[in-house]
């Protein structure tokens, strides 16, 4: 986001493979709540005549998950971490027409 690129080492296992974890900086989280614009809703409705993959939804969810990850990375970056381990994702239907995408992990300093 905001033009800056933060590069962090990320993994969903207990450590960063090939690196040593020096210290842990606690839980970092990122979340985003998204709703879809009505035009795409109509197209997804048309797609539901045949079923299968709903590309409009897939795109939207990918986009929003990337944003949630970006927020988590910014959180970790603000704490001075250079890696996040044990990342988990969660999706929940918070309201009609909106979904929350949430991701969390442990910020660590690795060398």
């Amino acid at each position: 986001m905001q033009g800056q690129t933060i590069s962090l080492l990320m993994s969903n296992v207990e450590s960063i493979p090939g690196k040593n974890v020096v210290s842990s900086l606690g839980l970092v989280t990122g979340s985003t709540v998204r709703a879809k614009h009505i035009g795409k809703d109509i197209f997804a409705g048309l797609k539901n005549i045949v079923g299968g993959e709903l590309k409009a939804y897939t795109e939207l969810l990918n986009e929003s998950r990337n944003e949630a990850i970006q927020r988590m990375m910014m959180d970790a970056h603000a704490r001075g971490a250079n890696g996040i381990v044990n990342i988990r994702f969660a999706t929940s239907n918070v309201a009609a027409g909106a979904s929350e995408l949430f991701c969390y992990g442990t910020a660590v300093v690795v060398e």
Binding site: N12, P17, D41, A90
Partner: protein, 163 residues
Amino acid sequence: MSESTMIILYIIASIVVPLSFPFISWALGRWYQAGITSKLMENEKILGSILDDKMSVTTSNKVSMIGAEYSTLLHVSLCVGPSMGQMFFMWLKSIFGGRLHSYDVVLDFGRREALLRLKQQAAERGCTSIVNIRIETSVVSFAKTQKSKQASVEFLAFATGIR
């Protein structure tokens, strides 16, 4: 004479078309989903077998990570749903219970496609193995009204890719 036949035809059409919609949608859904499933199986043959040779894919997180020079988080999400006609027949079927074949097919397709895309993503980034694969399933609905609520299922597959 011709006007009255037109009216009769119109009445018949206005009854038959809405009634036949579930059948049409069901048939179209079966046909379309058979198409995408066979395409997926082709891709699995082409890409899956190539990847399986050089890639070790595991759900375990206890692997030897000594010598790993690069690791990255991989995540793929995919949204699938059955067709409206299939949903209508599944609603009928659910009165008696039993196996809902249409849902089986759709969910199986979604999960396999998600795993395949995960492998593709790993191959793009030059990973040689994928560890700690997790697959999550959740119901997403962005429909604005309760009436148009469509059952779409999201599959999220995430893993760590190692080179």
